[in-house]
């Protein structure tokens, strides 16, 4: 909870960087990206499906559906804001990040909350 201000700032920065870097392209392997996403621990904070850690504060922001561009994701992974640790190229190669980005891009919109009856109780 106490780190959520950092996280919010990081999210805002990342959103802002989209306009700087423009629309990126994730030429990655979706299945491999999913495995890396899980094994690298991304889902601990950002949710298994990139849905984020909720609104309470402290957990990671929502990543999917409609993820940020590859370049922005790479920037955050290499030089993160907030409490997220920096992943060096030794730990996550650029290709790994492309694969993660591809996985996040592959996550479908899915059902809208309003279409799920029990979410509207």
């Amino acid at each position: 909870m106490r780190h959520s201000a950092y996280l919010s700032a990081a999210t805002i920065l990342l959103l802002g960087l989209i306009s700087v870097y423009g629309k990126g392209f994730a030429a990655g392997n979706v299945d491999r990206g999913r495995d890396i996403y899980i094994n690298a621990g991304c889902g601990h904070c950002h949710g298994t499906y990139g849905q984020g850690g909720g609104n309470y504060g402290g957990a990671g922001p929502k990543l999917a559906p409609n993820p940020l561009d590859y370049e922005v994701i790479q920037l955050q992974i290499r030089t993160p804001m907030g409490i997220m640790p920096a992943y060096s190229p030794t730990l996550l190669s650029d290709q790994d990040i492309k694969d993660i980005s591809a996985y996040l891009s592959s996550i479908p919109e899915g059902k809208k909350a309003r279409e799920i009856l029990i979410l509207n109780r």
């Binding site: 621990g41 601990h44 949710g47 984020g52 309470y56 999917a64 030794t90 899915g110 029990i118």
Partner: protein
């Protein structure tokens, strides 16, 4: 489950009536001459409480029926009284109606008195058999958070208390009243073989004294009774906390002539300390002068009245409320509840009011403007110990009112109401409307986030919580588990309006809390006919799975859902995080943190302990029907468990 069915309220009323009658009869004028309670309050159909273990019927398990012509049960004028008979009568005089225990030779005098005296005479005590002292204390912890009053956990000396220590620490950190009795073999001349020496200690309470509110080792019955009343008084005066009496075995076992039995000291009505009037007036002035006051409540609402008062305060000010979740402080769907829009509220506040806020530093550091004023109202400012660091990081505040938050709110509200009555215009109404919109937005965001991965495997934590709520929302439900490891999805998606519907978490985040605490809370809810549900981790249950047996044995209705993420998710996350920081990678972060290979068959485990169980449930489509089936079992007065394979948190 009683034969009357699941939803019944008569027991609670009978219980309250019985206690009042007892206190009126025994303590109306100062110290009252001791009369064995079996004689003072004869069995009455009107006041009879249904024990969860039938006394003269064979319960499922080891119960050996007493002969119905037992002298113990029918002797109206006992020629001899045992010290421990008197001791349990003192407990009954305090209104303690339930004892949880795992047996031990250092308190077998008391154990025998509970079984052959207190369980067969009015007002009847109930005895919960636990398979571990940690469960006994956690049971009492959960019970107290529902009823607001302590029950007794009896512990074996040395080894039993050592087992119980973590659960006591949880109760201490959670500020919950628990009445502990531990046996003591003090007289070396009366110790026997080697084991009795291994289980003897001169100052056993020293082990846990750092997280007890008070303890004593009485060496006479007068000493015992006075210390019992003192302990109860301390335990139930905010800040609540666990208390302990180490009771010598000789005192339990020695006979006492009826005319030599000490009086029972009267139990005074205890009150909570309210804030000093001048300071409360000053606080009101600061709050009314603020442009954007934010209220944060943690262990504020000791009772339903506390929640009502916070609603009154918030609505009066049209101020945002952040519920830190130590108790059920504020309705989850109230428009002023900004718990899930808290960053925005904190970022613009110019005054933060912390009510029984344990971690003022955590909520305020780098989250509120440096210029914002801070007011704290908490009992922790006048009662604290130094060794264990549960007092959290020091934070300067502008006004620290050392008082109980709930007890202080009436006068604070009164002052604020007066000040507002002199105010021109009403900017607060506009703020309230904006906050209501923010609350609605946060709810929509939560629902959209919950929809992501809705049909995926592993089941999302959000879907787990949503499916559970769908099946209980029309019931008189109570969530008896914390939600931190479920990303607070219940608070995000459910609608809780009543104080008893949530009771916070463990206190010290010591794993092994939930199995015992959830059945203790469920036992308390059973008297009111409520439907208790718990969501707990697989790792947590493995600390104390024996609690499931107690739930089955005592027919405690509870739906226990295992949020099975295959191990200790938090620690996996931290090891991987550390590995990344050290540039050594994440791949080995699972080692030491997972409970797989073999996967634990929780359903089989639960069934072996007598609990209805299903699972592992891996398909989200199967979850709702499994919950519905389990609830039908719970409604029959029995515990049920579902093992749900879900994402990490």
């Amino acid at each position: 489950m009683t034969k009357k069915g699941f939803l019944q309220n008569s027991n609670k009323e009978a219980f309250s009536l019985k206690r009042r009658e007892l206190l009126r009869g025994a303590m109306i004028t100062g110290a009252t001459a001791y009369v064995p309670i079996s004689l003072a309050t004869p069995v009455s159909a009107k006041t009879k409480m249904q024990p969860s273990v039938p006394v003269f019927e064979s319960a499922d398990g080891e119960q050996t029926p007493l002969p119905t012509n037992s002298k113990i049960a029918t002797d109206e004028k006992p020629s001899q009284i045992w010290g421990s008979d008197y001791m349990v009568d003192v407990l009954r005089g305090l209104g303690i109606d339930t004892v949880a225990m795992n047996p031990g030779s250092t308190f077998n005098g008391l154990h025998e008195s509970v079984v052959n005296h207190a369980m067969v005479t009015e007002p009847r005590m109930d005895l919960i058999t636990a398979t571990h002292e940690e469960i006994s204390v956690a049971f009492a912890h959960g019970y107290a958070k529902v009823t607001g009053k302590p029950m007794c956990a009896m512990l074996h000396s040395t080894v039993g208390l050592q087992h119980a220590s973590m659960a006591i620490y949880n109760a201490w950190c959670d500020r919950v009243p628990v009445f502990l009795i531990v046996g003591a073999k003090l007289d070396s001349a009366r110790r026997g073989y080697a084991v009795e020496w291994l289980h003897a200690v001169n100052d056993g309470a020293a082990l846990v004294r750092d997280f007890l509110k008070w303890d004593d080792q009485p060496i006479s019955l007068i000493n015992y009774s006075e210390s019992a009343v003192r302990a109860y008084k301390f335990s139930t005066t905010p800040p609540y906390g666990p208390v302990l009496l180490a009771v010598p075995a000789f005192l339990q076992k020695d006979p006492v002539a009826p005319d030599k039995v000490p009086d029972i000291p009267p139990l005074p009505t205890t009150t909570a300390p309210a804030g000093e009037p001048t300071a409360v007036k000053k606080a009101a002035e600061m709050i009314v002068a603020a442009e954007y006051p934010v209220i944060v409540a943690d262990r504020l609402a000791r009772t339903a009245r506390g929640m009502d008062l916070l609603v009154e305060l918030a609505e009066l000010l049209q101020a945002p409320v952040i519920d830190a979740g130590g108790r059920m402080n504020f309705p989850w769907r109230h428009p002023l509840n900004q718990t899930f829009a808290q960053n925005d509220a904190l970022a613009q506040t110019d005054l933060l009011l912390g009510l029984e806020l344990t971690d003022f530093w955590g909520i305020s550091k780098d989250r509120i403007p440096d210029t914002a004023k801070r007011i704290s109202i908490t009992t922790l400012d006048y009662y604290m110990k130094s060794n264990y660091q549960n007092f959290q990081r020091f934070t300067s505040v502008d006004l620290a009112i050392a008082a109980d938050g709930e007890a202080t709110l009436p006068s604070l509200i009164e002052h604020i109401r007066y000040l507002l009555s002199r105010e021109k215009g009403n900017t607060r109404k506009k703020r309230g409307l904006e906050l209501a919109a923010d609350h609605k937005d946060a709810l929509m965001r939560s629902r959209e986030a919950a929809a992501v991965g809705w049909d995926n495997k592993p089941i999302t934590t959000a879907r787990l919580c949503a499916e559970l709520y769908d099946k209980i929302r029309e019931e008189d439900w109570a969530l008896v588990s914390g939600t931190i490891f479920q990303q607070h999805w219940p608070q995000q998606l459910w609608d809780a309006k009543k104080h008893y519907q949530y009771m916070g978490d463990s206190g010290a985040y010591g794993l092994g809390y939930l199995p015992g605490a959830s059945i203790g809370a469920a036992y308390a809810h059973k008297r009111a006919g409520r439907l208790p549900v718990a969501i707990g981790g697989d790792g947590d249950l493995m600390y104390a799975p024996g609690a499931l047996w107690s739930a089955a044995h005592h027919k405690i209705p509870l739906l226990y859902i295992i949020h099975n993420n295959g191990g200790y998710h938090q620690e996996t996350m931290l090891i991987q995080w550390t590995g990344v920081l050290r540039n050594r990678g994440m791949d080995r972060g699972q080692i030491g943190n997972v409970l797989t290979e073999p996967n634990i068959d929780f359903a089989a485990l639960a069934r072996s302990l007598g609990v209805h169980a299903e699972g592992p449930v891996t398909d989200p489509a199967d979850l709702g029907p499994a919950i519905a089936r389990a609830i039908s079992i719970v409604k029959q007065g029995r515990p049920a468990l579902i093992d749900v394979v879900a994402e990490g948190r």
